[in-house]
């Protein structure tokens, strides 16, 4: 354990030297970033081999710009899931979550300044999300899904001038593009987001626990000072549910969020968001401890204290994109080792459901090309497991509600106490002999049959036969 944490800190120290350990390290480091990007862009444009694209997308800068990215994502995603039927326009049955979808679409793209363009994007967002759920009615919408779909839409529609002219021009071109975006969103949803699309948050909460497990493995001291043995890591819920797209907004082509999605899609790995969050905590260790100490006075319980401190540090980190670029470098650098560690944690903890994307992706070179039927089977399996767990939880909650009402309803509590007291008195005085006799008579049958059998087998059998 000590060695992993040591090697982690040493890797941080040698960050600068190791950063060059990438496919483009033939480009001398004295060349400025702009030119490095330009060179990489040329290589990506010339690449037709998807395996090479996977490597390029996993490296620094990702796919660099949206014009190229849209083609790369489509190429890579269509190698991860083969969709049998294309978009189904005929489904008109409303999905039960459409009301919630509309509410969230309304408040999307707040960072897009041009209101006309914003409305165009919102319209597209609504059509895509509703289309996905009408086509896959078994899946449930969760708040945060709209952030991920918004990001996909911007890969194809970040240029407002083109969009605004398109919306009034060639409809067939708009439709063809719509189908491509839809297909990419659909594949991404089915391959990576299934855990979040059940009717409860149980599976994503399981995923959050992996962050605690990883921190325990990598930095036991921090694990204890953050009280991760006692509190649930709910502080990471929005980052994990949205793969960081809720907090890190794609305000321009250089935004870090693109690289995060480039890495997930290129590595075909649902581990990435968990690894990024863990690295964020480990890299901000000192700041976090300071913040927790600073906040101690202001919070009455540990859950609030840790949640609030992490939220504050996350907010300040978001405004510093350079810091997130460093997290990405560390995540790329340690990826292979961390995948092994996380796989071990997955195996040991056994908290992840057997249909989870965490188990069906991130297989390194042994990638699986799924078809619609495989995915359908996985979803059914997950819905079943989730349903069983939800039922158990609801039974517990119902029991708690009854208990709560009994405890807090003084009249009921008094009545129950009196009833128990009365029964005790009755049994003691009124029917003392009757109860005593009944007990002794029936003892052989219901209380201690084995005892009787051992002491007097013949009579026991005899009496039973009668």
């Amino acid at each position: 354990m000590g060695s992993t944490s040591d090697s982690y800190s040493s890797s941080q120290e040698t960050l600068a030297t190791l950063e060059s350990n990438t496919i483009y390290d033939f480009i001398p480091s004295y060349i400025n970033l702009g030119f490095q990007k330009e060179l990489k862009l040329k290589i990506i444009r010339d690449t037709t081999n998807p395996v090479v694209l996977e490597i390029l997308g996993s490296e620094k800068f990702g796919f660099i710009e949206n014009k190229v990215r849209s083609k790369c994502w489509h190429c890579l995603l269509s190698r991860q899931l083969r969709l049998e039927n294309s978009r189904n326009n005929d489904v008109l049955i409303d999905h039960p979550d459409e009301n919630q979808i509309n509410l969230d679409v309304k408040r999307s793209f707040s960072f897009v300044e041009n209101t006309k363009h914003r409305d165009f994007l919102k319209d597209l967002l609504s059509r895509i999300i509703i289309g996905i759920f009408r086509k896959h009615p078994k899946l449930r919408y969760y708040q945060g899904y709209h952030d991920i779909v918004s990001l996909f839409i911007l890969v194809w529609h970040s240029n407002e001038e083109v969009d605004l002219s398109l919306s009034t021009m060639i409809l067939s071109a708009v439709d063809a593009q719509f189908d491509t975006v839809f297909e990419c969103v659909e594949i991404f949803t089915l391959v990576y987001l299934r855990d979040f699309m059940m009717n409860s948050l149980d599976f994503p909460i399981d995923q959050l626990k992996l962050i605690s497990h990883l921190i325990k493995e990598k930095d036991p001291d921090l694990y204890h000072s953050m009280k991760l043995d006692k509190i649930s890591p709910f502080f990471a819920i929005s980052s994990i549910l949205t793969f960081f797209s809720h907090d890190l907004k794609p305000t321009n082509e250089n935004s870090i969020i693109w690289e995060i999605f480039d890495l997930i899609i290129s590595k075909n790995s649902s581990f990435i968001p968990i690894l990024i969050f863990t690295n964020f905590i480990l890299m901000q260790k000192q700041k976090l401890i300071d913040q927790i100490n600073l906040n101690t006075e202001n919070f009455d319980n540990e859950t609030d204290l840790i949640h609030a401190s992490i939220q504050q540090i996350l907010l300040t980190s978001i405004s510093n994109e350079n810091f997130f670029f460093k997290i990405m470098t560390i995540t790329r650098l340690n990826y292979n080792r961390d995948v092994k560690l996380l796989s071990k944690v997955l195996f040991d903890s056994r908290i992840i459901n057997c249909g989870s994307p965490l188990l069906t992706t991130a297989k390194g070179n042994n990638k699986t090309l799924f078809d619609t039927k495989d995915i359908d089977n996985l979803i059914d399996k997950q819905i079943k497991i989730n349903g069983t767990r939800k039922n158990i939880r609801q039974t517990n909650t119902r029991f708690n509600i009854v208990l709560y009402h009994v405890i807090n309803n003084k009249h009921l509590l008094v009545k129950l106490s009196i009833l128990v007291g009365l029964l005790a008195i009755i049994s003691k005085f009124s029917n003392r002999n009757l109860i005593w006799e009944t007990y002794h008579k029936t003892k052989k049958v219901w209380l201690d049959p084995l005892h009787c059998l051992l002491h007097n087998p013949t009579s026991y059998l005899y009496s039973n036969n009668n």
């Binding site: 969230d104 708040q143 952030d147 909460i205 709910f234 819920i237 202001n298 319980n301 859950t303 807090n408």
Partner: protein
């Protein structure tokens, strides 16, 4: 012992998605409003230093929660230690009004408060700036609901036009402070009881 510690008032805002929980929090804490608040995922919080009883100050922690039903399972973690719970509905949305009672019950079941019958709630009917014809919840039915749930204070607010937000939060602060002191007193009572029991025991042993 509790008098020296900083007074922290923890306030939880609950209600259906889109009723304006985040907007109300930002209006109160920062006196700002935006049409474009993003949906809350999990829980966010803001703090504000407030004056109580003239010269004393307290820190009010406002916890804003996600409205989608599934996020309630995180509530168990966030409701703990709350001093007041704010229930918000949208005056133009019947469903959000009908759900007020279930939000209250949900809170009481999970928050593990010491005396549920006296725990302070405040109801806010938000978005009253919207034109009359779109309003579907009458003042009368809101008052009836507030009364039926145990005379809960009711405020009709607009985070957008800054109507009634400050008076509502003054009431929230007042009842949170009251609750906070009740809990502190209860704690001290328990503490004294514990001492008394010990003393009783000693007295008995002396008598022997």
């Amino acid at each position: 012992m509790s008098s020296k510690k900083k007074t922290i008032l923890k306030v939880i805002i609950l209600g259906d998605s889109g009723v304006g929980k985040t907007s109300l929090m930002h209006r109160y804490v920062n006196d700002k409003y935006s049409q474009q608040y993003k949906a809350t995922i999990g829980a966010d919080f803001l703090t504000k230093e407030i004056n109580v009883d003239g010269d004393r100050t307290a820190t009010m922690q406002v916890w804003d929660t996600a409205g989608q039903e599934r996020f309630q399972s995180l509530g168990v973690a966030f409701y703990r230690g709350a001093d007041c719970c704010v229930l918000v509905y949208d005056v133009t949305n019947t469903k959000s009004f009908e759900n007020i009672k279930s939000w209250r019950d949900e809170f009481l079941v999970h928050a593990n408060v010491s005396s549920p019958e006296s725990f302070p709630f405040v109801i806010l009917g938000n978005k009253i700036d919207i034109e009359e014809t779109k309003k579907v919840i009458s003042v009368k039915s809101a008052q009836d609901l507030a009364k039926s749930l145990g005379n809960i204070p009711l405020f009709l607010t607009s985070a957008k036009s800054s109507i009634n937000v400050d008076p509502a939060f003054e009431e929230i602060a007042r009842s949170a402070l009251q609750q906070n002191q009740n809990d502190a007193d209860a704690f001290e009572e328990d503490f004294n009881d514990a001492i008394n029991i010990q003393l009783d025991g000693e007295a008995d042993s002396c008598a022997c």
